[in-house]
Symmetry: C2
């Protein structure tokens, strides 16, 4: 994952183990800092119960003067009432002071157990250490990406470059999380940094577009966390992107977000299959999305995939209860390009061939409808006994 990654110009990052997590050697505090002010925007969880850091960060964005993000893992500072808000605000002020920024120009994310107050002393002691370690090498980037992990097994970093003549703009994103799948852990977080100069009013549209086609198209267990946050920081150090390259900048951004989102699914805890769900032929993207998400969230579809079971009735019936109106004859299904159901009737198929294809670990579900021209691509993981073990295993 770390191959070929690097920071855009003018960003410095660091990570540190300050003791929030039970194992004191585990990284749990990260700083992402831009030396110049950034245009910044964010996309957040839709959960009405959201973490205090989400509330604090959301209130400060979009803005043109953002200087960085402070992130801790091991405690999500969610469901913590007024004290949680005060703790999140304090955290931005403490981090900002160390790099000479205004408190309001700092953003904050927290991920981990819900419903416990932040250990302020540990963070207060750790912040000067992490600030003293800020740097711009790929190694710094990897340590910062590790410091935001909860039960991720690998850091997730993606760098893409956009070039035109002798100009180069870099977009680098890091993320953590495999939805809300780990014991007591909440969430995915991502910070996307670029040295492109972006009009402040464009930052939100850019990140929104990228998120809608990436992080919003993945599901491990369908549980919308309290802390999901994606932040875009654009510090302009590589200059403006000419108008004729704006579409390419958007696709570079989409590509970074999509690669990060897929890395989350590939690292989903307990998962043994990477599942791509294509839903085609609906009147709206929303209806295609709704079908894809319903299929992705079905425990019966997931467990069938776990067992390499070409049990297509579960897929078609999940579409049937998605709330999107259709007739059975409007619907056809292939799995790994093998037709199983066509225009509302079963197709004879070689069950062993389908099962063998699924056993490669890559499963492609394609639902084709005859109701329109819109489509969506969605990614998910399977549901394994290991997932259950990991999520039930808690010592009281």
């Amino acid at each position: 994952m770390s191959h070929g990654v690097g920071l855009p110009r003018g960003f410095r990052v660091a990570g540190h183990a300050c003791g929030i997590k039970s194992d004191p050697r585990t990284l749990d505090l990260a700083l992402f800092v831009s030396d110049a002010p950034c245009a910044a925007a964010g996309v957040y969880t839709q959960n009405l119960v959201c973490g205090a850091p989400v509330k604090v960060t959301r209130a400060r964005l979009p803005r043109n003067t953002a200087r960085g993000v402070v992130i801790n893992s091991g405690n999500s500072n969610a469901c913590t009432g007024d004290r949680g808000i005060a703790d999140a605000e304090w955290m931005t002020a403490a981090a900002a002071e160390l790099v000479g920024a205004a408190a309001d120009d700092f953003l904050v994310c927290s991920t981990g157990v819900i419903g416990r107050f932040l250990p302020r002393e540990k963070i207060a002691a750790g912040l000067p250490v992490v600030a003293s370690r800020l740097g711009s090498t790929p190694e710094h980037l990897e340590v910062a990406a590790r410091a935001i992990m909860t039960t991720d097994t690998v850091p997730k970093i993606v760098t893409r470059k956009l070039t035109s003549g002798d100009q180069t703009w870099t977009v680098t994103g890091v993320c953590k999380g495999a939805a809300m799948i780990a014991p007591n852990m909440a969430t995915m977080l991502s910070v996307i940094m670029t040295d492109a100069r972006i009009d402040p009013e464009d930052t939100h549209a850019l990140v929104r577009h990228a998120v809608d086609r990436s992080f919003n198209c993945i599901s491990v267990d369908g549980h919308t966390s309290t802390s999901d946050t994606v932040l875009l920081l654009a510090n302009g150090q590589a200059g403006p992107v000419p108008a004729n390259l704006h579409a390419q900048l958007q696709s570079t951004m989409d590509d970074v977000a999509m690669a990060l989102a897929q890395a989350i699914i590939r690292d989903a805890e307990g998962a043994s299959h990477f599942v791509t769900i294509d839903v085609h032929g609906l009147p709206t993207r929303e209806s295609a999305f709704r079908i894809a998400k319903t299929v992705a969230d079905s425990a019966l579809v997931k467990t069938a995939i776990t067992g390499n079971d070409p049990n297509w009735g579960r897929i078609v019936s999940a579409a049937g209860y998605s709330g999107v109106p259709f007739l059975e004859q409007d619907c056809s299904l292939t799995v790994n390009e093998i037709p199983l159901y066509r225009s509302g009737a079963p197709v004879a198929f070689d069950a062993k061939a389908v099962s063998d294809a699924m056993a490669t670990g890559e499963v492609r579900i394609h639902l084709e409808f005859t109701l329109g021209k819109e489509s969506v691509r969605f990614w998910t993981s399977d549901l394994t006994a290991e997932y259950v073990r990991l999520n039930a295993d808690y010592t009281t």
Copy 2:
């Protein structure tokens, strides 16, 4: 379960192993017959992809001249196109002929694997056998209840009596299913029989009311099957129920349906906990229902329960993404009567005490809101590694 059960007057039932299931000794064909015509109504799956038997039965109800139901297990006759419809119609005609009824006065249900055509020859050979075994003893009832089972481990039968002076009316229900949890199996089915004389126009309201408070308030895995059907047959053999007892008749019916629904949850495959979710204080029953169902369907809530983990953040955050608007300070939570979250802030609690209470296998989740006077009670099971094993285990 079979203690104290019996048929209402004028009903005869039977079961038989006709060879639809792979083990030829396993019961898979049942008849439920009334000697007199019945007022009958049904409630069906909301899945747009529904089995052929659902379509055939739904088109015939409500009616005043129903004579019985033929049910097979091992094959749901769903996703089978026009041939499936013809098979379902044929099945009612063949069963009806054996008991001297009109084809249209017979109803049909099928449960089992989706997407395979019914084995007509086996059913044609089996129907005369099952018709020859019709009888009205508790033993007949148990055999018929076993013949509609898929991966249920126990037959589910409930009898309740309503008495007034020397008059007695009996309501007996059977059901199968633990939602859509078993390998390739779809669904819950229930037949409720009574000897009360019920105005035909009242049958639908009676069964609808009972189902809304029972089968519609349970979830094992949130997957709405293609075949869910609840049928009420009232043959009037014990005479009319006086107007002043109508409310009691409804509660007797509700009680039968609720006991059957709870039996499904207690028999949910792989389940180790029986979970009751009470949601109080919402402006509408629908919003309370939506929160309860979202909590019940969360894989993270379920796995926390599996591990006796008082991880209340998962419960509150599931409510937060249910789509029902509320503020965190509107919400409080107890688990097994122990307060964990009050008016949007965590409550200090003894984690071991909560975990020990959960380890009894009976978990009571109580979410209290300050937004109105409506409430709902919902039942679910946990999510275990055994569930995954059962649903992934399929031999191709």
